[in-house]
């Protein structure tokens, strides 16, 4: 393993439950510095839960979550964020009662060692729409604008790794392109990304590696090219 892809975030044998149902059955994967790793799979295979478990929003029952070698599996959610992991939930969860500006300020955290730093002005460069609407209540934004807002909000926490759950879900094609472009650029500036993405084409395009999940485990791990060439995996775990 070269230094450039030494694991920044490593998930080892992660088990998690929703109430009594066992959702994650020993998930193993890692993200190197500067990588984009996509978690693929059908609905209900535990992709979103994996992200939530990393954030401590669904407490892991056992296993390790190592960020630069430091185990975060038992840490509180806010401490996990402060350690350098950002999270963008599928439901977006903007603070509708707050303005766009206030939502952004809510995301600001002081910088973590070595993580790229972001400013609100940079966010407005990515998404000029938000600048025009900075005094608007976030609840009055369109779905696309809300998605952009959540991306910016989490980036302002200056994360080393960003967990993004289905960012293009339900967006108009124009917005899909904007989000895709931003994701790419964020990564180029040094933020590693774990992406849960339903659209295989997008995942194959933006990822450095892909992991396919089935029954709460990683069933395939490889480069996008390797996955694209593996008809057995595509058919067994991804075909609708």
């Amino acid at each position: 393993m070269t230094e450039s892809n030494a694991p920044l975030l490593e998930v080892r044998d992660l088990h998690a439950y929703y109430g009594k149902s066992h959702i994650l059955h020993g998930v193993n994967f890692y993200v190197g510095k500067g990588e984009v790793v996509s978690l693929l799979g059908r609905n209900g295979t535990g992709r979103s839960t994996t992200l939530k478990a990393i954030m401590g929003l669904v407490p892991p029952k056992s296993g390790k979550i190592l960020l630069n070698g430091r185990n975060l599996a038992e840490a509180r959610t806010y401490a996990i964020c402060r350690a350098g992991i950002g999270y963008i939930p599928e439901e977006r969860e903007v603070f509708s009662n707050l303005t766009v500006d206030e939502n952004l300020r809510m995301g600001q955290q002081s910088s973590h060692d070595g993580a790229p730093e972001w400013t609100i002005e940079q966010m407005f460069e990515y998404f000029p729409n938000l600048k025009e609407r900075r005094k608007t209540k976030a609840g009055n934004l369109s779905g696309g604008e809300q998605q952009m807002l959540t991306i910016c909000r989490s980036l302002l926490g200056n994360p080393k790794v960003l967990l993004i759950d289905e960012p293009t879900e339900g967006l108009a094609p124009k917005n899909v392109a904007a989000v895709e472009e931003a994701t790419h650029d964020i990564n180029r500036r040094g933020v590693s990304i774990v992406l849960v993405e339903q659209k295989l084409a997008i995942a194959l395009k933006v990822s450095t590696r892909v992991c396919v999940m089935g029954h709460g485990q990683i069933v395939f791990e490889g480069t996008p090219e390797e996955l694209a060439g593996n008809t057995k995996i595509l058919k067994e775990w991804l075909a609708v």
């Binding site: 929003l57 959610t77 809510m106």
Partner: protein, 313 residues
């Protein structure tokens, strides 16, 4: 005219006192959604603590200290009691805080006795601000009003203009997301609860010296502050202020109005008939003054369930 002016002044000051107590409840019940029946008990504890502390530290330091101590008490209640039952819903919170209110009332009786305390406005502050129709108007009333208005401005600015305010409003709305953005939400909740309790304690410390400090003061005020928060609209600070003033004025004016339905019928020449019927018709508005706020709440809930200035329904 004299009656009108004095009732107006007293009503506004009483309303501002109601606001002092309900401001904290607006944060705790209106915003955080914690059904805290013991809120007025914090008000009472504030008054009793200030009474004890002023003997040692003097009046003003005692008031500040009492508020701080009640704030700490509030944080303890939140962190060690309410937080554990919050996920079981409002019924558990209500039962817990109801019990707490009883415990506090009994403890107060145990230590201070079941009678009003001799807690008074210090002589240095006991003079007339001005005269209204030959009657001295106490400066302390104005002071209470001023503290209440100061409180309103301070909380309003804190919530809307500072990062702490943003974090509080976000954490109340979406606690888990706020936590995922790196904010220690349980600490925020404990802090908000503590501030809410401290505000009630401050109100008690200030008002206890002017009105009476007795073991029933929590009960007397406890329900009315809920009325204020509901009438004003859950979570709306401006609404709480408006409702406080409204209820303060209504209570103040109603006490002095000796009219009844008999007088109303008298307008149509049916006075004798009405007098012979008596009963409800003979009830004077003054004797109903304590009931009017509740009638108002009923009316508001029927016509505008979200309250005067509430957003949530």
């Amino acid at each position: 005219m004299e009656y009108f002016t004095i009732s107006l002044f007293n009503g506004v000051v009483y309303g501002l006192l109601l606001f002092m107590v309900s401001a904290g409840l607006t944060l705790i019940f209106g915003m955080m959604g914690v059904l805290n029946f013991a809120h007025a008990s914090f008000y009472m504890v504030g008054a009793y603590l200030a009474y004890s502390l002023q003997k040692i530290f003097g009046f003003w330091p005692a008031i500040v200290l009492a508020a701080l101590l009640v704030g700490i008490l509030g944080m303890v209640v939140e962190a060690f009691f309410l937080r554990r039952v919050h996920r079981y819903g409002h019924a558990h919170e209500l039962l817990l805080t109801f019990g707490l209110a009883f415990i506090i009332a009994e403890l107060v009786k145990l230590f201070y006795g079941n009678y009003p305390l001799n807690y008074r406005v210090p002589d240095a502050l006991n003079f007339a601000a001005f005269q209204v129709f030959g009657t001295d108007y106490p400066v302390y009333r104005l002071l209470m009003g001023g503290i209440s208005i100061g409180m309103f401005i301070l909380i309003y600015l804190l919530l809307t203009r500072t990062r702490v305010g943003i974090v509080v409003r976000s954490a109340i709305y979406r606690p888990r997301m706020a936590e995922a953005l790196g904010h220690n939400v349980p600490l925020v909740f404990m802090g908000v609860f503590g501030v809410g309790a401290a505000l009630a304690g401050l109100a008690g410390a200030v008002a206890g010296a002017f009105y009476t400090t007795n073991p029933n003061m929590a009960l007397e005020l406890g329900v009315i502050v809920f009325v204020v928060v509901v009438v004003g609209g859950l979570g709306s600070l401006e609404g709480a202020m408006l409702a406080s003033l409204l209820i303060g004025l209504i209570s103040s004016f109603a006490v002095g109005i000796d009219l009844s339905l008999i007088d109303f019928f008298g307008l149509f020449g049916a006075r004798e008939w009405a007098e012979s019927v008596g009963g409800v018709l003979a009830l004077k508005i003054s004797s109903l003054s304590a009931t009017i706020p509740f009638a108002l709440m009923l009316l508001i809930l029927l016509v505008r369930p979200s309250g005067l200035m509430g957003e949530k329904s």
